[in-house]
Amino acid sequence: MKKPIAVAGNSGPKVRSDCEITLELTDDGGIIVDLVSKVKVLYGESIIRLASEMLKFFSIANARVKIIDSGALPFVISARLEWAVKQLIDTDLDYLPEFNEENRYSSVRDRFRFSRLYLPGNTPSLMINAGLHYADGIILDLEDSVAPEKKDESRILVRNALRQVNFCGAERMVRINQGERGLEDLDFILPHNVNLILIPKCENAWCVKRVEEEVAVIKDKLNLTNEVFLMPIVESASGIENSYEIARSSENVVAMAIGLEDYTADLGVNRTLEGKESLYARTRIIVAAKAAGIQPIDSVFSDVSDMEALHQYVLNSKALGFEGMGCIHPRQIPVIRQGFAPTETEIEKSKKIVIVFEAAQRKGLNVVAIGSKMIDPPVVKRAQRTIDLAIRLGMLSHNWIDEVPVEEK
């Protein structure tokens, strides 16, 4: 026996959808569950049944369990109890909640990653409805948003969330920890249909490669066939300097993000709204990512109450060349999506450029003018990108050009 009493989970006046479990192994007397819960009348029996079944699963015959419950869902209760058990006994068993079949979907390399919503990995209340806000990606975060003493139990909670919580089609992402702990995190999450791993504080290609290798080993061992993409996050001066090698480090890397809070701290400067201090790093990331053929992704915007400032930030971010950013509050999602999508004016202008240029080419010209503006191949390439984006976002039909009246062509 490791120690006599273990505690897992959270309780307190502000805690919701979570529980705190105190487990004590005893010599006799069977399983005694003491439940304090505001949902006791409605779910008391099922909570006690779950606890008893789990202890039986872990071959514990005698124990006292105290559960202080704030309306935790079963996958949360079982995660907390599992961590309590694992603090007391050595076991290779995992008590896995049923895999929700709605979660069995894969991702593709070049899907949109405009918005990705961070969810602290040890806060179940924020996970349950996260999918309803339709971010392109949902990040279950094991890294900075989890307190050091909660790291172990957050792995079990995130594993259970990956199995149970329906994220409504969002790309299922996990941000693992740095270094060795991050590699250990992979064991907990990979078997549960993770679409993408975020690798924090990437300093060089090696940081990506070791994760990639570990992913391959686990996939091989467990016979997992789903694709697991990687998104390194560059958050330091040396990482910026190595950004191109990071971007090219693995064929599984589909996007590269910048983390500006840590980057500005590394530089010893303040992060400002204007962002002058990080302009070089941001543009460097963009160029490196584009050169490697992956998506450059911007940092998060930390003032969750100022939607207008966020809107301006997104427009600026898009103008620089980023193709998405992180969100720390669901309300940021629509602002970000709208910001990265092309505007009606941009689409109209691009259509005109493509039409005029195609007409010129039919006449054997490679350069043409609209008003006083010269239209040459790079301008057309940009216009074509906008149109492709509009088509993929459903803002423009695939055969739009056929719908244009002949006299305008």
Partner: protein
């Protein structure tokens, strides 16, 4: 016991008085005449109009306070009320027993009355049962049976003589010595006194209590002095910061904002929102968010709501002042911004509940409303609603104006699909407060369910892109996430009766098996 028209088993007698079981909405038609208090003679009152009594105790004794009387109060001082409890301190001191307290609502500040329920000073409360009082009743500890009525049902009961008020003790932020009184001025301002009208008109005796005595005439008078027996001046009527609920902030919860956005979007896409629309919305954080989204839609289209019915808030005032609302008709005020408005804006009109919600009258404001946005603790597969008990069986809320509002053209309930694991959509409501035929739309963060009786609405939003689901689908999703809940266990004893707007008994609450 009989089974009423809603299929609920209800008694034929409550607190020794015969009651009529619910017969279906609009089915019960009372006969006879309204109740009336005795005819007074003005020569019995001071010729100089000065009705000041030395203290509340003196006034109560001069009103003949004795065993078994019914004492009414209004709830405009909300959780800052310093008067209601004192009435029963006095009664207890005088050894008076078996009183009935008949408030228009109770608040946590009234929890100390439990000791008078224990010692028999108070037999029962007929009014809303919140927090500890509700728990006390649910556990079967109150001697009499609680009777819960809507705001409209309360004034209907007074008017029809179902409840005969012996003494109405009406706190008034400003009053003159003749008894004219209003809700503004002084240090305990609550804005309007929309809940006091039936009480002062129908009570045998009326005491006005104020901490701001002003020279005659106290104007504009919401309580008319010629109905008043005594005026009492006290140091302090209430705690100002608790009288006002404070400026309620728009919810920051992403899930609630999502519900609010979906609600406003439904109202827009269904065509319910239009120029001249009449709206009543609540004062909570989600309601404010809905109101904000509605204002944006009205603004965008250059539309104006003809009027809104308060409880008014700073947000309604904003709509009035920015031109998206023609008038505020107001029965109660929630924040200082709305007090400022009612004092200065002729478009912000005090409007007693007696004139708005009384079902036994010649018309009803609620049927003139296009949109009513309401809450509920539970809704069931037949769209029946519960607002008084929680799914665990505890009585924890009053009905408020909820039942009255169900008669609006479009009744929308924005609700989370589950609260802390407790599904809000259930097979059958724990307590029936409103029949499903009157509830049109449930908006949750996981989809919108429209009552099949409203095929018109179903057709209108068919191709709107809104997430329309059946209520059964929503119920199944809640159970999939939360698990199937057990039912609370009850004893046979009835602890509270729920009246419908016409005074019939729609359901009862039973004692919890502990």
């Amino acid at each position: 016991m009989v089974i009423n028209a809603a299929g609920r088993s209800v008694p034929l007698e409550i607190n020794g008085q015969p009651v009529i079981p619910f017969q279906g909405d609009g089915k019960y038609r009372p006969e006879g005449r309204k109740y009336a208090p005795p005819v007074p003679t003005s020569s019995d009152y001071p010729a100089d109009g000065n009705k000041l009594a030395g203290s509340l105790e003196e006034a109560l004794i001069r009103c003949g306070l004795r065993d078994g009387m019914t004492i009414s109060t209004h709830h405009h001082l909300r959780d800052g009320d310093l008067i209601s409890n004192i009435i029963f301190d006095i009664a207890s001191k005088c050894g008076v027993k078996n009183l009935v307290w008949f408030p228009s609502a109770s608040f946590p500040c009234n929890d100390p009355l439990i000791k008078y329920l224990d010692d028999g000073t108070i037999n029962r409360i007929e009014g809303s049962m919140n927090g500890l009082l509700g728990q006390y009743v649910s556990e079967g500890r109150m001697k009499g049976t609680a009777v819960l009525r809507s705001h409209g049902g309360r004034v209907q009961a007074i008017q029809d003589g179902e409840v005969k008020i012996d003494i109405a003790v009406l706190a008034a932020p400003s009053a003159d010595s003749f008894g004219n009184a209003r809700g503004t001025g002084g240090s305990s301002a609550c804005g309007v006194l929309g809940y006091a009208k039936a009480d002062y008109m129908y009570a045998e005796k009326v005491i006005v209590v104020t901490d701001n005595l002003i020279d005659f005439p106290c104007f504009p008078m919401e309580i008319e002095g010629n109905y008043v027996d005594y005026v009492v001046v006290v140091d302090k009527l209430g705690i100002p910061e608790k009288i006002m609920s404070g400026t309620t902030q728009v919810t920051k919860s992403p899930d609630r904002l999502l519900i609010a956005e979906l609600t406003a979007s439904f109202l827009e896409k269904s065509g319910i929102l239009k120029d001249g629309v009449t709206i009543q919305e609540g004062a909570g954080g989600t309601s404010l968010a809905i109101a904000m989204f509605i204002q944006e839609i009205l603004k965008k289209n250059g539309w104006k709501s003809k009027f809104g019915f308060g409880g008014s808030t700073h947000h309604m005032v904003k709509m009035l002042e920015e031109g998206q609302m023609g008038y505020i008709l107001d029965a109660q005020i929630f924040d200082p911004e709305a007090i400022r408005s009612v004092e200065n804006n002729p478009g912000h009109v005090p409007y007693p509940v007696f004139n708005a919600y009384n079902y036994h009258s010649k018309g009803n404001l609620t049927t003139m409303m296009d949109v009513m946005i309401l809450g509920a603790t539970e809704v069931d597969l037949n769209f029946n609603g519960n607002v008084v008990t929680h799914s665990d069986g505890y009585l924890l809320h009053g009905i408020g104006g909820w039942q009255n509002c169900l008669h609006a053209r479009n009744v929308i309930l924005p609700l989370p699909l589950f609260r802390d694991r407790i599904p809000v959509i259930v097979d059958e409501v724990t307590t029936l407060c409103g029949p499903g035929e009157l509830i049109d739309v449930i908006v949750t963060e996981r989809g919108i369910a429209i009552n099949p009786l409203r095929q018109d609405l179903i057709d209108k939003v068919k191709n709107s892109g809104l997430p329309i689901r059946t209520i059964k689908e929503l119920r199944e999703e809640a159970v999939k996430i939360c698990g199937e809940p057990q039912k609370p266990q009850f004893e046979e004893d009835i602890v509270a009766a729920i009246k419908w707007v016409d005074g019939t008994v729609i359901d009862v609450v039973r004692k919890l098996k502990l």
